[in-house]
Symmetry: C2
Subunit: 154 residues, 2 copies
DNA sequence: TCGCATATGAGACACTGTATCATAGTTAAC
DNA sequence: GTTAACTATGATACAGTGTCTCATATGCGA
């Protein structure tokens, strides 16, 4: 964990609250709780998982959690990771180094690798078309080392 | 459209049929029809859209289309685009220039932009870890121009 | 504190993708 | 061409995810 963890957390909260007020939304109890649980979670999570946690701890309803997840996404506090199964996966950005994912088509395991800022060359193209970029992900797919070896053994 | 369109189409069909026979699957009427409709479609499509087309034209049932889409995926004729709304999106690979996608979080519309080969710098990193890369996609998300304007009008 | 706009919870709902199973179609051997 | 064995199909039911509705509760500016 980095030294600036506390202030990074605060920055995220400020980012979120700023987004809310700019959008005419309230800083309600439910939004605070869902925000905290999303930040507390240090892996990937789905809306359903977050909803279960928030309901068990604080009786926040499923519908509300789904609604707040959208706010978190739009504020840039969490991002959607580009997975292929039928759930939406998210991860928070706070205290994380920018990274991308490579996924094995057989075992569906992930490899994370650092962001090398290669996206910068794409930005002008999208911004010229009026697209407001909130995030990006480089998504590789293929076969991981383990699965390649298993195939050889057959 | 490129000059080699016809032969490229044939190659795709051979690729598909080869996959089927290697997997012990039959080259049935339904599989031929779904293959043709997937190739005919020159944008993104979801299983549901494909199912509607195949049912209206040829009375192929929804369940069958979903099953054939899996075959098409595994044979490499179509690929899943790494997207986040609740449908799976596919596009066929035949006759397409490499490109990536940006998606609006509100209206879910896509912008396509050309591949600038920025992924090349990531390859050594993944290959060093034994990951066999079969493809990649750069995925941007944000708010499109139209949706930004709609927010302002409120 | 009051009044109004926004948020919430509970449940119903729509939709996607999968499973089941009886029937139909395909293939290969003869 | 027939037959037998296997695979594919269609119809339907089902589970799970995410959205919508609406009555009630809460937050916020005056």
């Amino acid at each position: 964990m980095r030294l600036n963890t506390k202030s990074a957390f605060l920055q995220e909260r400020i980012k979120f609250e700023k987004h809310l007020s700019l959008s005419g939304l309230q800083i309600s109890r439910a939004r605070k709780i869902v925000f905290n649980e999303a930040i507390r979670n240090h892996g990937h999570f789905t809306s359903e998982e977050l909803a279960k946690i928030c309901f068990n701890k604080n009786k926040i309803s499923r519908a509300t959690v789904y609604r707040v997840v959208k706010d978190l996404l739009e504020s840039g506090v969490i991002r959607e990771t580009a997975f292929g199964d039928k759930h939406h996966h998210y991860e928070h950005i706070y205290d994380e180094k920018p990274h991308h994912h490579a996924q094995c088509l057989r075992c569906h395991e992930f490899i994370e690798f650092p962001d090398m800022k290669e996206d910068e060359r794409y930005r002008p193209y999208l911004e010229k078309r009026g697209f407001k970029i909130l995030g990006h992900e480089m998504h590789f797919y293929g076969i991981c080392e383990k699965c390649q070896n298993q195939q050889k053994m057959k």
